[in-house]
Amino acid sequence: MSLTVAFVALLTGVVVWALLARRLIAKPWETPGTMDASQGDNATGFPSAKIGLWILLAVITSLFGLFISAYWMRMEHGHGDWNPIPIPHVLWLNTTALILSSAGMQIARAAVKGAHPDRVKVALIAAGLLALAFLAGQLLAWQQLNASGYFVTGNPATAFFYLLTGAHGLHLLGGLIVWARTVARMVRAGVEPIDVRLSVELCTVYWHYLLLVWLVLFAVLLST
């Protein structure tokens, strides 16, 4: 298990290396003069907020990757104290809500590009409400498990269920704060879709990403 993690880490390094290699073979001492390829303030050509978000997603990937590694390793190390729990059926409903929420974000993003202010508002608000519904559904799943005697202290499978869903939920909650600020700006008078374009785009990327994380987590929870 750990060896797999080690090899994956090494492989990632090699891939990053290969991607960067062309830029890293420049001989800086040979070529005095400006190089217009590297413009001030915006060297990559993307908005800084977008770069920042992608780096944040890398950090969150590392976080959840390690949570899942810990999940598997705890399963291996536990010597038979791992009792799989019945996955609450409401999770399927929640998953659907999250997929729809992500789709809503995508529609809002397209509407921003097409400059349809009303459609942006509707899609954006619907997406957020669906995400809230997802969170409510997750809480319901917690309550159901608790009611049927699967407490957090009971068994590592239960503890991990609460831990993983909780960590994912907190990340979605963070996204909802940004969403709320965007909506607040959007409904103010005189704000055009173009003014919230970047925020909507960043929210969409984050929403798709969290959907992906949830699908992976759900698959891990279902498979064990």
Partner: protein, 594 residues
């Protein structure tokens, strides 16, 4: 109102007017850097004081009764954690990273100044929570800085109720602060470089800080995962890490947890952490050596590649800290191999530093002394690392003072020497005044020789088999008198070195008002931070116009040039042909054309 427009922003950058906006809730990267540095150094002095108390106990166990056994364990834990995370990580990345990245890249500020400010205040909160552990029932945790379960949460270990929870909480807060800062550093390097500043023209300081930040962003989540799960074990009674233990006759409250899992998570963070501290030091020392030897850095590209290679490899060596955990021998073999492989790029860097000095016009300034001291110390510490990287040698040495000597040399003294060198080097830019040279030399020689008097005998103790982590050695017949004398000598040296740091602090404070005015570029350096219109640089750094870069950062002693250095922002002209470092360049005097 004074303002400067930033190229891609339509709003203007207003100069802060009030005292509070300027120095307290400041969004200026230079102010935040100084806030980080002062906080980190202050908490570092607390950790230094704890090491003095521990040394007094070890050197003169029957003379002083300043600390009780449980205090010893608490101090050893807090000393390690503070020095590694709250001092070195915060100082190199939050302090030097904040100050140098925008100035060296030719940016006006970090790309997310508000988040940068927040990063400092959250870091301060983490420090306060850490310190709060001293004032709760039971005091801070005494589990050792690695916080291994189950002993970190079992009764009998100091601070097993409140202390450990506050420590984990503080680490969690620190990670949030670091992530906010780290996003800034990486995005600024990628986005905000001035025109002409290609990646391969960046000074190595920026490369080192950049790669260390990437490592931190990817490695700290492992610590966060471990901290969250252990907090749940402590507070809610889950069994992620805690096996069934009958403690003090009580029936087990946990069942089946895996202490080994915590070790994997901790060291998956812990080993990259070594390089989070080392890579900025590598980068900064490269710039110090090049500037004060008036010679281009030898093998610039190789240096950059080595930084990247060390960064990648540092994620696949973590289990060499766990050879004694009873893991599969094949597993140990894999990690011994990767550990020895990581020595290759590290050795390349050492060769290149030495070859930078070769035929250079070496000026023995105070920063240069510290930089050369770093090379010696790092080689010494690194060589013992080759011993410990091998399973068969590590197993008998792992629990002894050999390990203490090794890691203090390689990741304690070495980075601290670079910190001192860097402060002597950049203090003129930060304050506009030079530090006192004589006091600096006294500080260097006494610190440098003093640390050898502390840590070299520890290797001897380790080979004798003297175990680390012990409060006293009374009644142990296998420890010869020579070991006791060595301990006395170490303690005396440690007190001496700690006292010498007061000279440094005195110099720092006195030079603020009494130091010689520095001018804008006292070291005649090429990098952009020395070319600012004002010293110390004002808010926005560059006045009305951003600099444009025409060359790499190491055009020292270029044949045919008027001066022995060509700033990065000097356009190419007839007088200043491009540097041709691969050719034989005889050393030149102070700006004398060849």
């Amino acid at each position: 109102m004074a303002y400067v427009a930033i190229a891609d922003r339509d709003h203007v950058l207003h100069d802060p007017q009030t005292f509070i906006r300027k120095y307290i809730w400041s969004q200026d990267h230079k102010v935040i850097a100084i806030q980080y540095a002062i906080t980190a150094i202050s908490i570092g002095l607390v950790a230094l004081a704890m090491s003095v108390l521990m040394r007094l106990q070890l050197g003169f166990p029957n003379t002083f009764s300043l600390i009780a056994p449980h205090n010893y364990y608490q101090f050893i834990t807090m000393h390690g954690m503070i020095m590694v995370i709250y001092l070195l990580t915060a100082l190199f990345l939050g302090g030097f990273g904040n100050y140098l990245i925008p100035l060296m890249c030719g940016a006006r500020d970090m790309v997310f100044p508000y988040m940068n400010m927040l990063s400092y205040w959250v870091y301060l909160l983490a420090v306060l929570v850490l310190v709060a552990a001293f004032f709760v029932p039971g005091g801070p945790t005494g589990a050792g800085w690695t916080l291994y379960p189950p002993q970190s949460v079992l009764p009998g270990t100091p601070g097993a109720t409140w202390g450990i929870v506050l420590m984990l909480l503080s680490l969690g807060i620190f990670i949030v602060a670091f992530t906010m800062g780290g996003l800034n550093y990486v995005t600024t390097v990628l986005q905000a470089r001035c025109r002409g500043m290609t990646l391969m023209r960046m000074p190595l300081s920026v490369w080192g800080i950049f790669m260390a930040t990437v490592l931190g962003l990817l490695a700290f989540p492992a610590l966060l995962v471990g901290a969250v799960m252990m907090t749940l074990d402590c507070l809610l009674g889950t069994s992620f890490f805690l096996p069934a233990v009958i403690s003090m006759g009580q029936p087990p409250t946990h069942n089946g947890g895996s202490p080994l899992l915590f070790q994997h998570l901790f060291w998956f963070f812990g080993h990259p952490e070594v390089y989070i501290v080392a890579l900025p030091a590598f980068g900064i020392v490269s710039d110090l050596l090049s500037t004060h030897a008036r010679r281009h850095i030898f093998g610039y590209r190789m240096m950059v590649w080595a930084i990247l290679a060390i960064g990648c490899l540092s994620f696949v060596v973590w289990a060499h800290h766990m050879y004694v955990s009873g893991m599969n021998p094949y597993f140990g073999f894999f990690f011994a191999t990767t550990t020895l492989i990581i020595a290759v790029p590290t050795a390349i860097k050492v060769y290149n530093w030495v070859l930078t000095l070769w035929r250079g016009d070496i000026h023995f300034t105070v920063p240069m002394l510290f930089a050369i001291g770093f090379i010696f110390t790092f080689v010494n510490g690194g060589l013992t690392g080759l011993f410990l990287g091998n399973v068969t040698v590590d197993v008998p040495l792992s629990a002894t003072y050999f390990v203490v000597g090794h890691f203090h040399m390689v990741m304690g003294v070495s980075p601290i020497l670079v910190v001192f060198g860097a402060i002597y080097h950049w203090y003129p830019k930060i304050t506009g005044r030079m530090l006192n040279d004589t006091l600096g030399r006294i500080h260097f020689w006494l610190t440098f020789l003093g640390t050898y008097a502390i840590y070299l005998p520890m290797h001897y103790l380790g080979i004798l088999g003297v175990p680390r982590r012990y409060y006293a050695f009374a009644g142990t017949t296998f420890i010869p008198p020579s070991a006791h004398w060595a301990n006395v000598g170490i303690t005396v040296s440690a007190l001496f070195v700690a006292a010498v740091q007061l000279v440094f602090l005195f110099n720092l404070i006195r030079s603020l008002s009494r130091g010689k005015p520095a001018g804008s570029n006292p070291w005649r350096a090429t990098t952009l931070e020395w070319q600012t219109p004002d010293t110390p640089p004002k808010h926005g750094n560059w006045g009305p116009k951003l600099p444009v870069v025409y060359r790499w950062a190491y055009d020292y002693s270029v044949p045919g040039a008027k001066e022995d250095f060509i700033p990065q922002n000097q356009p190419p002209g007839d007088q200043t042909p491009a540097g041709q470092p691969e050719e034989h360049v005889p050393p030149t005097g102070h700006g004398v054309p060849v």
